[in-house]
Symmetry: D2
Subunit: 381 residues, 4 copies
Amino acid sequence: MTRLKMGMVGGGIGSFIGDVHRKAASIDGMIDLVCGAFSSSEEKSIASAEALGIPKKRAYKSFEEMILEEAKLPQEERMDFVSIVTPNHMHFPPAKMALEHGFHVICDKPMTLTLDEATTLKQVVNSSNKVFALTHNYTGYPMIKQAKAMISKGDLGTIRKVNAQYLQGWLATAVEKTGQKQAAWRVDPKRSGIGGALGDIGTHAENLIEYVTGMQISELAADLSAFGDGRTLDDDGNILLRFENGAKGTLSFSQIATGEENNLGIRVYGTKGSVEWYQENPNELTVRWLDQPKQIYTPGGNGSYPESSEYVRIPAGHPEGYLEGFATIYRSFAKELSQIKKGESPSTVRDFPTVDDGVRGMKFIYAAVESSKNNASWTKI
Amino acid sequence: MTRLKMGMVGGGIGSFIGDVHRKAASIDGMIDLVCGAFSSSEEKSIASAEALGIPKKRAYKSFEEMILEEAKLPQEERMDFVSIVTPNHMHFPPAKMALEHGFHVICDKPMTLTLDEATTLKQVVNSSNKVFALTHNYTGYPMIKQAKAMISKGDLGTIRKVNAQYLQGWLATAVEKTGQKQAAWRVDPKRSGIGGALGDIGTHAENLIEYVTGMQISELAADLSAFGDGRTLDDDGNILLRFENGAKGTLSFSQIATGEENNLGIRVYGTKGSVEWYQENPNELTVRWLDQPKQIYTPGGNGSYPESSEYVRIPAGHPEGYLEGFATIYRSFAKELSQIKKGESPSTVRDFPTVDDGVRGMKFIYAAVESSKNNASWTKI
Amino acid sequence: MTRLKMGMVGGGIGSFIGDVHRKAASIDGMIDLVCGAFSSSEEKSIASAEALGIPKKRAYKSFEEMILEEAKLPQEERMDFVSIVTPNHMHFPPAKMALEHGFHVICDKPMTLTLDEATTLKQVVNSSNKVFALTHNYTGYPMIKQAKAMISKGDLGTIRKVNAQYLQGWLATAVEKTGQKQAAWRVDPKRSGIGGALGDIGTHAENLIEYVTGMQISELAADLSAFGDGRTLDDDGNILLRFENGAKGTLSFSQIATGEENNLGIRVYGTKGSVEWYQENPNELTVRWLDQPKQIYTPGGNGSYPESSEYVRIPAGHPEGYLEGFATIYRSFAKELSQIKKGESPSTVRDFPTVDDGVRGMKFIYAAVESSKNNASWTKI
Amino acid sequence: MTRLKMGMVGGGIGSFIGDVHRKAASIDGMIDLVCGAFSSSEEKSIASAEALGIPKKRAYKSFEEMILEEAKLPQEERMDFVSIVTPNHMHFPPAKMALEHGFHVICDKPMTLTLDEATTLKQVVNSSNKVFALTHNYTGYPMIKQAKAMISKGDLGTIRKVNAQYLQGWLATAVEKTGQKQAAWRVDPKRSGIGGALGDIGTHAENLIEYVTGMQISELAADLSAFGDGRTLDDDGNILLRFENGAKGTLSFSQIATGEENNLGIRVYGTKGSVEWYQENPNELTVRWLDQPKQIYTPGGNGSYPESSEYVRIPAGHPEGYLEGFATIYRSFAKELSQIKKGESPSTVRDFPTVDDGVRGMKFIYAAVESSKNNASWTKI
């Protein structure tokens, strides 16, 4: 195995999501971080490189410089792909440029600042012949793979009802006014786009729903709120969902749900059975049946499907967490890149979120905002 | 203490809710069942009386007969109040007649078949000088009392978000076509009214929300469904909620949520803290705070408020259940009747659901049905 | 059905366990409390009767008086059985006298103050032709019945390991010195016998283990402690268990386990499967299998055996609690008494703990105390 | 930061624990795997190196070769430390040789095959001036750090009772006869030593108990069993514990606990409070108090102590798992090595299990086996 070389945009020391991406990329031993434009401040970018054990010369002062300079390096030395971990408004520019300069891209979500950017990016990806992955990391959890497999095989029958939630409380007070950087950009439309919590966590829930069920939301009725004093972007929302196949549901998300940490959860009810899962205890999947006792599935545990077990790194009962789920996105992305590098044709089924998921997420944001402006009237995605 | 004497309408042997009412009335040793019109079949009514240890002469063939005959008995012998445990369409007639003949009434929910009946009944109650209680039994759980007290004292700050659910799966298949009586009347508009699951369990959730938060739902947007083949009444619904104070929320209920038993739950988020409770494990109240660790309150356990502890019958750690919560409604009702009997003035705060809750529940049903007909448009309650 | 008439020894107003017995006896509508010697203080006994709605003439000043006076009443009026709810030292005298005067007896646990009393009582019971029941109430929980049935049918294979615990924290401080009556008699050898927590809760766990598994503990090695300052009776214990069939296990109990409420629990491991149950959330039975996912059984829920479901009063998902489990002992006892009254021969399988369980419990106490004196050496029961 | 270079003994592709060590070493980006003697088969060692992206020349055919050859490399190139992930009988030889040739060592548990080896190894470590770490990985969980900190600060008062369990079911059937390698060496005294499950998982529990409480087990009474047909080593055990300070407790472990996955758990009761933790859901620490409601602490969540939070990699609510706990051992080990490399004096408190923990674990095994041979008589550790 030849290890892949990663360049990073954003993620200077102290950032939350940059560090998550680095750790996730490391776990499976397939990827080495070799360079980065870690910060818009050159000084900070260099300091970050130093702390990460990366030679100073590969600490770039901008993503443009990184892409241009790396492209000049011999193939065995230059980065294979770019990981983009900046705030939303800085996703599209480096993604587009990297793809156009021959680099694969893995990017944090939501994919872009605007829907226009998203559709443009899709065209760029399609014409680039490069791989683009979006880190909707929650789809990497084994129990989510198990739920998806059970639904896809028809174990649960026809799906009729979906309830999803994504509840956080960290914006319950005005932390954005306290110098907290994570909060500051998330409540700022210039950096976040038209969705607040909607874009930050609502899209995760939307992606999870569609991933697990294999169904598309056809229309929605969204009641978004900005409870925080002076906030222009939503920090809470309640949404009615209708699916193409006639199923219905709800999605409730919040960043002002006091005391909640990262409570993403989903329940899916079919004619024969149902599944229930919560991210904070991700190694349990509750499955209910018409006439059998409730079951608890665990990663690699009794009854697990191969579609789930192949994503489990350690024996049943040894809990995997957020970083491992995230790492699964990186691993699947890396496997595809390795196949391409070896000249093999990659598998037709892409086992990670793609630019299509990214466009879908942006359409979801736009539909929800529009619906909410129209007093929660039904709006097609 | 003089024990109170109860007459029952409905609840023949084999009925679900009749037996629940009898057990709930028994637990605290304040009430004796003395007579009943247990069934529209005289034979069955007599057989039920016999099985219950009630003399044959007090097994009546109709509620009319029971009310008229009991009224003739000397006061120390005749029933003090009527318990109505029939399907919805048979709530109003006996309730009205009993009140008009000088008997107190305790009645199952939803209060009546129609909203008109409900408003009429309210007038009857008000002009009767008798006590009317409605068995929204879930408000009897100690941890619900605790949550209500914490919110009412302001512990959680201003309430901003409410998520409630009431999920059952017993109508996931067409059990109403298998001779199951419980199912048969619930899917029949003539006996249930215009709400199906909405009336049967949705009103419980609505009542719980308003009871716990002390806030009123001002408007709602409801998307009701009848998934079951040939059903005309809803068996599932998803509702957006808006409250008078600006709080928002969701209510999702279902009787086709495969595998769910009786999963009533509520989460309430305030500016300072939040509470979470599920009926299937009712002896835990999860409380989250802005800056303190999550707490688990238990009935009579450390930190419980008197407003909650006074409803606990046994020491902390000895779980109370559905029947005890139900019994609490009966006990509070009985206490008020005892005070009246003794000539004392009853406490001004009525500690059980009243005719006002009943009217509110019917308005909720009507608003939800209307909203759903108008494609989930916002409808005032 | 003719209702049965109960006389009570002990249980004056304010007592914990007397009230529990009364409520448990009431729930199923088969038993009426008609008389009592509620307290050794005549005044208190009369006040208790009054509060309970019992005529003053049937409030006796001693159990002796009650037994003698009731025996003189006509059969249709006099009590059918005596319920004994006094501290341990006052179990044997009224039990013996009642049986000898023709009354059935239901008695709290542990059965007697001493092992001698227990063996004597067994002889009395055997020669009396009367029914004696012991309220090891935890065996009344439906999920315990389910576990017992699964083991007895061989679902779990051969049992090899048992872990049980009964953890309370209410004696973690010296509450017996604060005037707390419940604590005072429990730490007093004259009223409790040679076991402290061992007798009070350890015997419950011992009974539960043998009831669920159908196996007898053959020998034990007990390390008992009296952590509380000045206590002479144990308030904590850890015991190794060996069973007749070669299985092994542990039993850990405590009343100084700070913060624990009433945490009785059991795990039983067989060659094919295992069960796990906790009293504080009694409506879940966790079942694990060699090669199937973990299951959660619920009372009356999918997959429940008839041996369990027949003890469920309300549909699955409507939690039953401590009082209902306790009531099941009373109900089974009452059913047997009714059969006897009608002249039917009672079922050969007695569905409640008997004098044999009581003797067994006393032998367990004596063996544990002896073992502990000998530095936890193996001691036969 | 200069990254550290790791050489591995054992852990050929397909091994369980070798892969765990590699992933754990990778997560924090401080360590690179540079060489290995991955298998006693040279061919397999080379294949493993290839799969891991390690140059063939640094795939050694034995640990002796690896140590000798690496020692010859220039300092900036050669490995800094050896990670030993072989079965128990192959811990001591490479550990001793590596230390004697100037390499630091991190080693899987139990530390050695025999107690003699353990005491010898301690001398080797002490005279080597090198760092030795033992991967009792469960002490790396943040909630274990939190529990330890709370106890050490006296929050729980004086500790009086400890209950620990480590329950697995994977040896419930004779998997060692099916060609399962993990099982084969674990039931073989030549490769495992005198303890079976006792050494494999019992020592983890012992280490966890002493780590969390800060107390030493003074004596124990162990009842070990070999339930599996033909097994000579224990596969199950129940142990009474006594601590130096007068506390008492139990430890029950098993590998024949059918259906259990990796159920390590601990409860510690003090005079003021208690803690409870289970490895399968490691991100919750339950804390009970004398007079406050039960609390649930989470990694980095409200109320977490710095002693715990510094080990948390991602915000509260983003679960960390087994690999992260394991990685914490590696990270602390790597930090100390980095300090040494930089010429700094390392912190006096070693934040990872050391050779002393290893000796202690071996003494525990020997004491338990001796006690069990003497019919569970009390034996000093």
